[in-house]
Structures are given as structure tokens and as C-alpha cells.
């Protein structure tokens, strides 16, 4: 089955996910190299490009981290090709050191950075805004507002990048990246560029000289000229649009997916003839003349954007300068409290802000009596659904063991968390049993633990543990581990090796034998890296409960330096595991002690694999065969031997 992403026909219309639309845009632009680090909601861009790498003659990789991915993509640009790198919002912060130098050195082949943000942190532990990098580092920023634009603007971003010889940022958000819509395809180019790095020319020559950010002031000057050029282009950009009446009572200024919320709100309120929408696709540098023309249409302006008032601030600054000619405008937005500057927006929020400004309160989303009835009837019947480790998940077993070992050790040890599925352990009901106490960025668990591990001299007696996933290990743990080893920090790193980047959907990483494009690749072994750093490593299976628990307790008692334990067991959702249950699991009701002294529902009250239910009538545990993944771990924790497992046929 050929992916529709490389359908040759121009003008065909497909339902594409925002991320796929971005990929198609890159393909239409003739991209040769695409790199990224997986992170929700960005991962499907690289994933879908992987699938067409062969037919499309692309080089696609999942890099070890975001910074590396940007460097690889930059090399492609230096060699004259077009390249793309992708990451989630905070990935830009990881890559930013390189990004700022790259922005100063400039590029050759068109290069774009697509970063997908997560307003409301639907799948993140932050909702940081990376749009601010554009003015900070002085590079252009584009924000597609629907699925068609996701494709078209991506394609155009490459042209812009080549035009100004600098990297261009393209911002998506969860609702766009993971949403889907109709997209009409454009043409695919049929030639690919030849890779060649020209570096023998005059050193300052942008096409043949050195690629370098010095002489700094000279290059900085050049960079600002590029931004000036972008500004001129943005004045005429078809992606900056106005729709609405000639003299709107209120002007909405917006960007990204909020554009669709604005349109919906106008339609819901029925104010199409009184409200206009100024949508910025090319958001930074803001084109001043274009802006001024539209600001002049009205006196009341409502700024609609996620998450922070990025456009709001910049529009106001420009408006202040224009005030002598244009007059003073009234701005509504986050600073006036019409919108929150946290979380994501939706059509209802725009309706209410716009309604407030226009004095309309006739809009009824949900009839009041219905709402009352729904609340009265349903609110007590909708038990909250906390996230939890999947059935069969090795992390549940790992944290079970870490918890038990720490309890037994009895010195109030704790775990510094890291980013991955196992971050869920910080929410105790999800299966972390309350052991994880800190959680920050990729690799920071090891860094923090390395700090704690040095505080013996100040009286710290608690054992310090940290966990990281296999992918996280390559991403950012290694430097922190080296630091801890060199400084003889007293800590234990537990690598929860589940054989893939599970959180984001099994992308490849350097520990695997297959790369993103499905080619064979040398696996970089975590244990051997640790040994080379000079750490003692042990490897256990978290499903061997007793042996692994004993190992953790023993490591806790070795109070010398850094110890590494690799807990190796494949993720329950991994393609190879999902297919087959290892065990058929059932409960022998005659043996199940249920709520009695001797068990008191250990499996459902404490262990809480979603595969086991508690039958409140019978007062017995019950396996839900649809959900149970067949790992069989619960049979080892049942004190009554009531959970029976048999090798599945």
C-alpha cells in the first residue's frame, strides 16, 4: 500500500492529519533530509516521512535529541539541500543553543524548524510558548491556521528560508497537528538536489565561504537585514488575510488554530456583518503597513491567541508607534482578562469574550435547563478516569518493586523522575505507588539525583534513585551520568528499558537495531556505555519480582557512588507484544480472599492493573480478558495463589 502522502496527482483531496499535511508540504517543497526527536504532538511528521523515505528518496532520522536533529538538518542545508527538523515545544529549548548560532551563521538550502506546541499541556508537563524564540533569535515565524495551510505554508517556508538564507520557524499546535481536515494536494517536484558542501570560497561568502557566526557584529547586521527582508515579504503574504466587513465594529486579530475558533464564534453569534478577522499566518516579523491598514478599520480590537499574549504585545507596540497618525485603539485580550493566558482556547471562550465586548448575551450554547438536568443526573455517574500504566506495562512492576524496596530499606529514599510514560508514576494511583517526587525535563532526573547524591556531607541520609527510559538515556542522561560518576555522587539510576520510545508511539532510538527508515542499524548498548563511564551495571527483568526487588535492596545498601540497574522488559503496547498474550490469566474464585484479612484486595486496591476488576457483588477479583495483556505479573503478587496463569497457546 503506497502512502497517499506521495500521491503524484495534483489537485486530489484527502483527509490529512495536520502533521501529515506538514509532511506533504515538505515533500512538495522537495525536502531531502528530515530529522526530529519524538514528542507529542509532533511525532507523526517524521513518522509519515519515514514511510515514504524510500519512494521519495529522503533521508529521515529520529535523532538522539532535538539539538542533534537540528544539527543534522543544518548539515543538509549547508550541502545545498532542503531540510526539515521537528520537535515538540520544549524541544526548541533543548536545541536553542545551536539554533541561535545557526541563525547567526545563516543557511544555504531551505531549512525549516517545525515545532508543535501543546497549549493546555494535553500531553506534556509544560505548555511553554516557543514563539518567543523568533524575536529573541531573530528568525521568521509562520503559523498555519488550518490543514490546507499546514501543507501550503510548510512548502512556502522553504522558499522563504532560501530567499532570506536563514532558518524559518513553523509553529503548529496539538489541535492542528493531531486534528484532520481536507487537504488539496499540490505538485511534487521530480528532481532532488545534489549534496555538496562548498567551502573554498572567500570566507564571508554566504554560498561558498565558512559557515560561522563571526564576525559577530557583521553577521548580526546581516541577520537583521534578512528579517527586514522577511518583513517586506510578509507585507504581501497571502497567508496574512482579512475577512469581514469594510468597517467592522470589532476586529479580531488571531493566528494558528484560534482562527477557526474566531470564525466559529462569529458564526455562533451571527455577527458576520459586524466583526472582521485579521489572521496572521506570517506572524513575526509583523508587517507594519499591513497591520496599520487593518487596525485603521476599527477602534476595538480583540486579540485571540494561545497561550501567552505574543501577538498582543507586538501588535500593541506597533500600534503605539502608529498612534499619532492612526489614533488610539482599544485592545482587548489577555491583558484585559478577556482570555486566560494559560491553557488552550476554544470557540466558547471566543464567543464569551466577543459577546462581552459587543454586549451580546443572547447566545445559548447548551439550554440552561438541559445543562442543569445533565449536571444533576450525570455528574455523580462519571467517575474520574485517571491515567494509568497500561495492562501488562513493565513500569507498574518496576515501580512496585522500587516502592517495596524503598519501604524495606526504610530510610525514606525517593525517586527523581524523568520524562516518558513512567512520568505517570508521579501520580500515585497511576501505578507509581508514590515513589516519584520530582519531575522536570529530559535527563534531569539523573542530574538532580547526582546533586542529591552529594549531600551526605550536609547530613542527607535518604537514598537517592532516579529512573529514565531507554530513549531518554541517549537523549540527555549520559552527560548527567558522567557528571555524577566523576563526582562520586551516591545514587542509583534505574533504566526502564522497554525497547522503544513508548510514550510517543515506538519511534526508533540509538539502542535499537533498526533505524527510522527501517534499515538495519548498529545498536548502542546502554550497559556498555555505563561500563565505559565506569559504572557497575546490573540487568534484571522487572517481571522477576523477588529477584529484582532483592537486587534493588542490595544496591540501596551499597553506599558507594553511582550504581545502574537496567530493568528490561518490552512495553505492553509494543507491536510485538500487543499481538500475543504470553499467559491466559484467570482467577480461582474459591481461592480469592477478596476483602478478607490476608489479602484485602491487593490486586485491585493497591497493584491496580486495569486488567483486573473487582466484582462488588461476588466480592471476588475478576480478570477482564479484553483488557488483560497476559503478562501474568499479578499472579506473582496474589498472596492466595488465586490468580492462575497458563502459557497461552
Amino acid at each position: 500500500m503506497m502512502s497517499k502522502l506521495i500521491a503524484q496527482k495534483e489537485g486530489v483531496e484527502y483527509l490529512l492529519m495536520g502533521n501529515e499535511a506538514i509532511s506533504r508540504g515538505a515533500l512538495e517543497a522537495g525536502v531531502s533530509v528530515a530529522c526530529g526527536y519524538p514528542g507529542t504532538p509532533s511525532s507523526e511528521i517524521i513518522e509519515s516521512l519515514c514511510r515514504v523515505a524510500k519512494e521519495g528518496n529522503l533521508y529521515v532520522e529520529w535523532s538522539a535529541n532535538e539539538k542533534v536533529s537540528m544539527e543534522v538538518a543544518a548539515a543538509a542545508s549547508f550541502a545545498g539541500m532542503r531540510s526539515l527538523c521537528t520537535m515538540k515545544q520544549n524541544g526548541v529549548h533543548v536545541a536553542s543553543d545551536f539554533l541561535l548560532h545557526l541563525a547567526a551563521s545563516g543557511i544555504r538550502g531551505g531549512m525549516i524548524l517545525v515545532f508543535c506546541e501543546d497549549p493546555g499541556a494535553l500531553s506534556s508537563v509544560n505548555e511553554v510558548e516557543s514563539r518567543y524564540f523568533a524575536p529573541m533569535i531573530e528568525i521568521p515565524l509562520l503559523e498555519p491556521a488550518n490543514f490546507q495551510e499546514a501543507k501550503d505554508m510548510t512548502r512556502w517556508a522553504f522558499e522563504l528560508s532560501e530567499e532570506i538564507k536563514n532558518i524559518v520557524m513553523v509553529r503548529s499546535v496539538t489541535r492542528l497537528s493531531h486534528g484532520s481536515g481536507n487537504v488539496i494536494f499540490g505538485k511534487l517536484p521530480n528532481t532532488k538536489r545534489q549534496a555538496e558542501f562548498r567551502c573554498d570560497g572567500p570566507i564571508l561568502d554566504p554560498d561558498t565561504g565558512l559557515v560561522f557566526s563571526a564576525p559577530v557584529v557583521y553577521k548580526h547586521q546581516l541577520q537583521q537585514e534578512k528579517i527586514k527582508r522577511a518583513e517586506e515579504i510578509f507585507e504581501r503574504s497571502p497567508f496574512n488575510t482579512y475577512e469581514g466587513p469594510e468597517k467592522p465594529g470589532v476586529l479580531l486579530i488571531t493566528s494558528s488554530i484560534c482562527y477557526l475558533y474566531c470564525r466559529e464564534a462569529i458564526s455562533l453569534l451571527g455577527v458576520e456583518d459586524r466583526v472582521g478577522v485579521l489572521k496572521f499566518g506570517a506572524t513575526w516579523p509583523l508587517p507594519p503597513s499591513f497591520l496599520k491598514r487593518h487596525l485603521s478599520l476599527t477602534d476595538k480590537i480583540l486579540m485571540v491567541e494561545e497561550v501567552r499574549p505574543f501577538l498582543e504585545e507586538r501588535v500593541k507596540i506597533l500600534a503605539a508607534g502608529m498612534a499619532p497618525e492612526m489614533g488610539i485603539k482599544t485592545f482587548y485580550g489577555k491583558e484585559t482578562g478577556h482570555f486566560p493566558s494559560v491553557g488552550e482556547l476554544n470557540p466558547d471562550l471566543v464567543v464569551s469574550a466577543l459577546g462581552k465586548i459587543m454586549g451580546i448575551n443572547s447566545y445559548v450554547g447548551m439550554p440552561a435547563d438541559y445543562e442543569k438536568k445533565a449536571q444533576a443526573l450525570a455528574s455523580t455517574k462519571t467517575p474520574q478516569r485517571d491515567l494509568t500504566f497500561c495492562p501488562g506495562c513493565p513500569h507498574r512492576a518496576s515501580f512496585w518493586l522500587i516502592h517495596n524496596a524503598l519501604q524495606m530499606d526504610g530510610r525514606r529514599g525517593f525517586v527523581c523522575g524523568d520524562i516518558g510514560c513512567y512520568s505517570m508514576a508521579i501520580l500515585s494511583p497511576a501505578g507509581g505507588f508514590g515513589v516519584m517526587k520530582t519531575l522536570h525535563s529530559m535527563g534531569s532526573g539523573t542530574g538532580i539525583a547526582g546533586g542529591f547524591g552529594k549531600f551526605g556531607q550536609f547530613g542527607m541520609e535518604q537514598p537517592v534513585l532516579t529512573v529514565c527510559g531507554d530513549s531518554t538515556f541517549y537523549h540527555a542522561v549520559i552527560p548527567a551520568l558522567i557528571n555524577a560518576v566523576h563526582h562520586r555522587a551516591n545514587m542509583i539510576l534505574i533504566v526502564l528499558d522497554n525497547g522503544g520510545t513508548a510514550m510517543t508511539g515506538f519511534q526508533s532510538h540509538p539502542g535499537l537495531t533498526v533505524n527510522a527508515m527501517g534499515e538495519e542499524a548498529p545498536a548502542v548498548d546502554i550497559a556498555r556505555i555505563c561500563e565505559a563511564i565506569g559504572v557497575k551495571v546490573e540487568i534484571r527483568d522487572p517481571f522477576d519480582l523477588e529477584e529484582t526487588r532483592e537486587t534493588i535492596n542490595r544496591l540501596l545498601e551499597d553506599e558507594e557512588g553511582v550504581r545502574v540497574l537496567i530493568l528490561r522488559q518490552i512495553c505492553g503496547l509494543s507491536p510485538e507484544k500487543k499481538a500475543a498474550k504470553r499467559y491466559e490469566v484467570r482467577i480461582d474464585e474459591a481461592l480469592c480472599l477478596g476483602e478478607n484479612c490476608g489479602c484485602n484486595r491487593l490486586c485491585t486496591r493497591i497493584f491496580r492493573c486495569p486488567g483486573i476488576n473487582w466484582d462488588r457483588q461476588k466480592k471476588k477479583a475478576r480478570i477482564d480478558e479484553v483488557i488483560c495483556a497476559g503478562c501474568g505479573v499479578c499472579s506473582s503478587i496474589c498472596p492466595a495463589g488465586a490468580i492462575k496463569r497458563e502459557e497461552a497457546a
Binding site: 516502592h403 517495596n404 519501604q407 524495606m408 530499606d409 526504610g410 505507588f433 535492596n553 476483602e595 478478607n596 484479612c597 490476608g598 489479602c599 484485602n600 491487593l602 493497591i606 503478587i637 498472596p639
Partner: protein, 376 residues
């Protein structure tokens, strides 16, 4: 005891957090919520059962000793100081090898081996010494295995946990060697305070109690030992009567620790212990208190026989020539009673200090006749 709870929460509040826990292991192995690690009892996960066996069996939760004396012993045998006395002897093993591998006279090992051989029990639960003094209870069926595990372990072994485990299994008739706190736990179980698994406790056919002045805390003792000698060098220890020292036998000779040094490593729970002679055992055994040099007298045991089945076993050993008997000096029993009373008195003082009020005796009942006698 809030809203009448007698479960894990109360166990934690009244026993674990207050350092009354003896590490006996009575609360371990019944359920997945408690376990023992080193010499400590660990609460792994919270359990919210209102009346739990952990609490009901624990020797440090409130206990009506008077009911226990009356239901487990013959009233005519009862003494306030050392419980029921049916007979009092000085004995030692006739088998020299047993004596050599034993703490004192090897009487315990002899009696346990005999009980197994005669089918009085099919499983013996005894303490096994492990490296680094991390002892544990083991269940054995072969008399030869008992002989391999002589000698006292002065850091607690969670022996009752092993009883709990064995009772759930194949074993039908179980004998246990236990310290006084462990004997008390087993006695509480025999009164069946909760209607779960009561069939299991009926498997308990023999309890041999060890006299006990106090036991050591693992962490404290390890630190003390490390200061004076390597851990590997230790081959045994003892607490000679009257001398107020702890002797540690090493490959290079005996090291003596003064009571001052040892005091800091005594398990805190032992300060609150009311029992020297394992009053609710079938037979209780300790070191002999004889005139003469300790080095010579230590190969004898004092034995209190308390129950009919205890007496039957001791007589069987006498008849079989397995135990050698010796006339006990007249003052031996009195001396024992005196020292037992002394321990009780100190315990009451420590308990009152712990609870902060002298009428609050924590697990002990201030209306208990022996307690009242001591308090005058």
C-alpha cells in the same frame, strides 16, 4: 484505638511507631502488607481492614495475660514470677556433638530432634543464622537439620513469620523454638481471636521457649562490632549470667563488651518486655545458674516444664537417655524468679516512661494481678 480499629493502622501507631515491635514476625506472612527486612518489620502498603490478624496476634498489642494463663496453663502450676511450673530441671544433651554445636547444654536441640523423630511434630521451626547476622526462621523436617542450627541468635529472627508460612502449607504438626515475645504471639494465636484460618494454629503441637533478657538491634550491633572486629571473624556470642557483659567469640578469642557499650544496641522493644522465661511455652530453656566457673557451667541448661505435653517430651528424653539430669541447687529457682521479677519491674518503668503516664501501660493491663503485685 480510634473507632475500635484493630488493624494495620493501629499496629503501626501503637507498636511500630512507638518502637514496641519485637520483630517476632507474627504479623508477617499472613498477608501481603507486612514483611520483615533485616530485623525490622516493614509495612509495605496500607491495609484498611478493621480487625486484622496482624494486630490481634502481635505480642505488643493489648493482651489479657490472666485469661491466657488460665486457658493455656493449669492453675495449680502458676507462679507470678515465671508462669506455670510443672517441673524444674538442670539438663544437658548426652550427645557430645550436639553439645558442641549448641549454645549451652544442647537441651533445646535434643528435645526438638526427639519430637521430630518420634512424630510428635513433623515440622520444626527454628532460627537459622545468616550472614551479617540477618537471621530468619526456617522450617525443617529432618532431625539432622535441627542439629545444624543450634546456638542462640541474639538479633531477632522473625520466627513466627515462618510458622505462619509453614502452617499454610503441607505441615500437619509443627513445633517452634521461640523467644518469649514469639511465644506470647503464638499463645495469642492459640486463643483464636479472629475467625480466619483457625485450622492453621491447631497445627502448633509444641513450643519450646528460650529464656531471654534482651536481644540486639541489627544496625546498632553492626556498628559496635565493626569498631572492634571484622564481621566474618565472629563464631558465636553469649550473655553469661550475673556478669553483665556480652561475650563475642571470634576466631582469635573472646571479646567482651561491657553492658554500657551493649546497652545502646539493645533493641528498644526489649526494654518493654515483661517476660524472661517464655511463660506460655510447653518447655522453657535457658542457661544454668550454677556455682563455679561459667566456662564449666555453661554446658548445662535450666529447664522449666510447663504443660503436660512438655512434660511428656522431657520424660521421653530422660527415658531414652538423651538428656542428662542433674540436681538443681535449691537457690537456683529463687534466683531465676528474682531476676525474672526484676525484668518485669524494669519493663513497667520503661513502659510508663514511654507512654508518659504510669497508669497507661500500653500493651499491658494495669489490673493484671502480676502487674498489681509489682506496683504494690
Amino acid at each position: 484505638m480510634e473507632d475500635g480499629g484493630m488493624g494495620q493502622r493501629e499496629l503501626q501507631r501503637e507498636v511500630i511507631d512507638t518502637h514496641l515491635c519485637t520483630g517476632c514476625g507474627a504479623c508477617v506472612g499472613l498477608c501481603p502488607y507486612q514483611t520483615s527486612y533485616h530485623d525490622r518489620i516493614i509495612l509495605l502498603h496500607p491495609c484498611d481492614i478493621k480487625v486484622g490478624r496482624c494486630y490481634m496476634f502481635c505480642p505488643r498489642t493489648p493482651t489479657n495475660l490472666e485469661t491466657m494463663r488460665k486457658s493455656l496453663c493449669e492453675e495449680k502450676d502458676l507462679t507470678p514470677e515465671i508462669g506455670a511450673v510443672k517441673g524444674f530441671y538442670l539438663t544437658r544433651a548426652t550427645d557430645e556433638q550436639i553439645r558442641k554445636d549448641a549454645q549451652h547444654g544442647g537441651s533445646v536441640t535434643t528435645l526438638m530432634t526427639l519430637a521430630l523423630r518420634e512424630g510428635i511434630i513433623d515440622t520444626a521451626i527454628i532460627a537459622e543464622g545468616k550472614e551479617n547476622f540477618l537471621h530468619r526462621g526456617v522450617a525443617v523436617n529432618d532431625p539432622a537439620e535441627v542439629k545444624k542450627r543450634g546456638k542462640s541468635k541474639f538479633i531477632v529472627s522473625p520466627t513466627v513469620a515462618e510458622f505462619n508460612r509453614a502452617a499454610k502449607g503441607e505441615a500437619k504438626k509443627i513445633g517452634v523454638v521461640a523467644t518469649p515475645c514469639q511465644v506470647l504471639a503464638l499463645a495469642k494465636m492459640r486463643l483464636k481471636p479472629v475467625p480466619v484460618d483457625e485450622g492453621n494454629i491447631d497445627k502448633l503441637k509444641l513450643v519450646i521457649g528460650l529464656f531471654c533478657g534482651w536481644a540486639l538491634s541489627w544496625r546498632g550491633f553492626m556498628e559496635l562490632l565493626r569498631k572492634k572486629t571484622g564481621l566474618d571473624a565472629v563464631v558465636g556470642m553469649d550473655i553469661p549470667p550475673r556478669r553483665h557483659t556480652l561475650e563475642v567469640y571470634t576466631k582469635d578469642g573472646t571479646i567482651e563488651f561491657s553492658m554500657e557499650e551493649v546497652n545502646s544496641c539493645i533493641r528498644e522493644a526489649c526494654h518493654y518486655c515483661f517476660d524472661t522465661t517464655a511463660e506460655f511455652a510447653d518447655i522453657s530453656v535457658g542457661s544454668a545458674r550454677l556455682p563455679g566457673r561459667w566456662e564449666e557451667t555453661r554446658i548445662w541448661n535450666q529447664v522449666i516444664v510447663r504443660t503436660q505435653r512438655g512434660d511428656d517430651l522431657v520424660q521421653l528424653a530422660r527415658a531414652g537417655g538423651l538428656l542428662e539430669f542433674r540436681e538443681a541447687p535449691g537457690e537456683a529457682l529463687d534466683e531465676l524468679k528474682k531476676s525474672a521479677m526484676e525484668k518485669k519491674r524494669t519493663a513497667l518503668k520503661s513502659i510508663a516512661a514511654r507512654s508518659g503516664s504510669s497508669p497507661d501501660l500500653l500493651y499491658l493491663d494495669r489490673f493484671d494481678p502480676v502487674v498489681r503485685m509489682l506496683q504494690g
